[in-house]
Amino acid sequence: MTQYLIRRLLIAIPSLLGISVILFTVLALAPGDPFEELATNPAIPPEVRQQLRASLGMDDPIHIRYFSWLAAMLRGEWGYSFVSRIPVDDLILQRLPTTIAVIGASQVLALCIALPVGVYSATRPYSIFDQIANTLAFIGFSLPTFFTGLLFILFFSIYLDWLPFVYNANINATGWKWWWEQIRQSIMPVAVLGLFQGAAWTRYVRSAVLDVIRLDHVTTARAKGLPESRITMRHVVRNAMIPVVTLVALQMPAVFGGAIVTEQIFRVPGIGSLLISAILANDTPVIMAVTFVLSALVIFFNLVADILYGWLDPRISYR
C-alpha cells in the first residue's frame, strides 16, 4: 500500500510537469499583453515599458521563461499579480475559504439530496415517488445554473426581498449576527449549485443502485432471511457506492475551482471569479497559478478516488 502510494506520487510528477508545459505554452501563445495599458498611457515613455518588460523577463524565448518559472515554483515563489502586485499565493489563499465554504456546502447539499432520493427511487422503480423524483431531477440538470441563479435572484431577492443577491465578503457584524448574514447570503448560491449537482447525482445514484439491486447476491441476501432494510443498506447501497464515490471524488477539484458561472452571478469572491478577472486582465501569473493548482488537485483526487475504490472494493489490489 505504501509502495503503491509512493509510486503513484512519483508518476504524478511527470504529469504535473507536462500539464505545466502545456499551460505555460498556451498562455504564452495567447494574444494579449499585460502592458497594453502602459502602451496607451502617454505618461509612460516606450523605453520604460521596454525596460519593465526586460526586467520581468518577458522578452526571453519561451523555454527560458518556462524554466525560470519552474525554478521559482520549486523555490515556493509563485510570483506577483501583474495587476495588484499581491503575491499570487496570498491571492489564492484569500479566495479559498469563501470558495470552499460556498461550493463545499453545495456539494454536501447535493449528496444529501442524491443519496437518499436516488436509493429510495431505485428500490421502488417506476413508483409515484420515483416518477416525481425522476422528473424533478431531469428538470434540475436540464436548467443551467446561470438561468436558475437569475430566477432565484428575481424571486427571492427582488420579488420577495428575502435574501441579498450580492455576496459580501466583509460583513460588518460579529457573533451570531455575522453567521446569520453569512448563511443568508450563501443560501442562494449553495442552493443553485447544490440542486443542479444533486439532480445529476440523483440519477447517477439511482442507476448505480438499480444495477446492483438486480444482481444475484441480493437474492442470496434475501434467501438468508435478512430484513429488506439491511439488504438495501449492506448488500445494495454498499456495492452501489463504488462507482458513486469515484464520481464524487473526481468532482472535488471543482469544489476548489469554484463554480465560475455561479460565482459570477452571485458575485461570490471565490477562486472562480479570481480566475475570470485574471483572464480578463491578462494577469498571467495568477492564471498560471490557479490553473496549475487545479490540475494538481485533479491528480490528487484521482489518487484519493483510487484509494477509496480499493477500500470499498476488495477485488482491487494495490500492486
Binding site: T219, T220, G225, L226, N239, P314
Partner: protein
Amino acid sequence: MSAPRLLEIAGLKVHFKTDDGWVRAVDGVDIGVDAGETLCVVGESGCGKTVTAKTILKLIDMPPGRIVAGSITWQGRDLVPMTGAQMRAIRTKQIGFIFQEPMTSLNPVYTVGEQIAEAVRMHEGLSRRAAMDRAAEMLSLVHIPNAARRVHDYPHQFSGGMRQRVMIAMALSCNPKLIIADEPTTALDVTIQAQILDLMNEMKEKLGTAILLITHAMGVVAETAQRVVVMYAGKVVEEAPVGPLFATPRHPYTQGLIRSIPRLDLAATEHKRLEAIPGTVPSLLDPPPGCRFAARCRFAQAECRSAEPPLRELATGHKVACHFAESIAA
C-alpha cells in the same frame, strides 16, 4: 414413505405479468418432499421448475410475479399467506437455498465468513465471534481446506466450485430441514459437478437434511434422487421413484428425456445421432388446450388436443399425466 411430509405444494399457480399478458409459468403444480429424502425436479429450460423453487421461499419478484392459486404447506403451515417477517424467519433457518450461479451469488465486497456469519447471527442470535467460528466450522464441513483462515477471504479468491461449497455451507449454516438447490451444478464444469453432487449427498447423509434439487440433467437425477418429478410447460407430467422412472418411464416426454441422454456405450457401436425431442416448449402466454406436450408428442391423438390429462397414479408412487400412459410403455 414412512417419513413425515416436510413440504407439500398443492395446485400452485404462479403467473407473471408481461406487456403481452399473463405468462403462466407455473400452472397447477403438486410436489411433496418427505423428511430426509432427495427429490429431483427435472424439465427443460422454461418449464417452470426454477420459478416453483423460488416461490417456495417467495424469492420471485412480486410484482410482476403473483401466486394465483395453491398452497405451500411447510410442516403444517401454509407459506402463501405469510407476511414478510414470517417468511424471513423460515429462510435459511428452516429452508436453505442454493443458487445456480456461484460466481455471482456471493457479495463481492464482504468476506465469505461475514456472509455466512450474517445469516447465523440473524437467526441464532450468536455474537460476531461465535458466528465467525460457526462459519469456519461450516467451511470445513464442506471440505474447504484451511477453513479457519479462508473465512477471511473474499469471494473472488475462490474458484467456482469452491464458491458453490461456500453457498452450500451458507445454506446449511442454521441447520435447516430442507435445502432447495436450483441447478447447483449447471454453471460448473463436469469434474466439479460430480464433487458438488457428492458433497450434497454426503451432507444429506450426515445432517439428515432433505434436498429439493432442480435440474435439467438426467445424469444428475440418476446420481442423487430418490424420487423424481418431471415438469413440462408449467405442469407436472410424471412423478415416480428414481428406479421405476428410468426403467419404465410412462410419459412420452420423460421417455424422450431419457432417450436424449448421451450414451457412450451406444455411440461407439451404432454411430447413431443423439435423439432429441422435436419442437420447442409452447408459449406459456396462451397455452394450447389439452395436453401441453401434444404438439411434440408422436403418440398424440385428437383427444390429447382437447382434454387435459389429469395426473393419475398408475403404480404406488408413480403418477403420470397422459391419456395413453398404459398403451405407450417404452
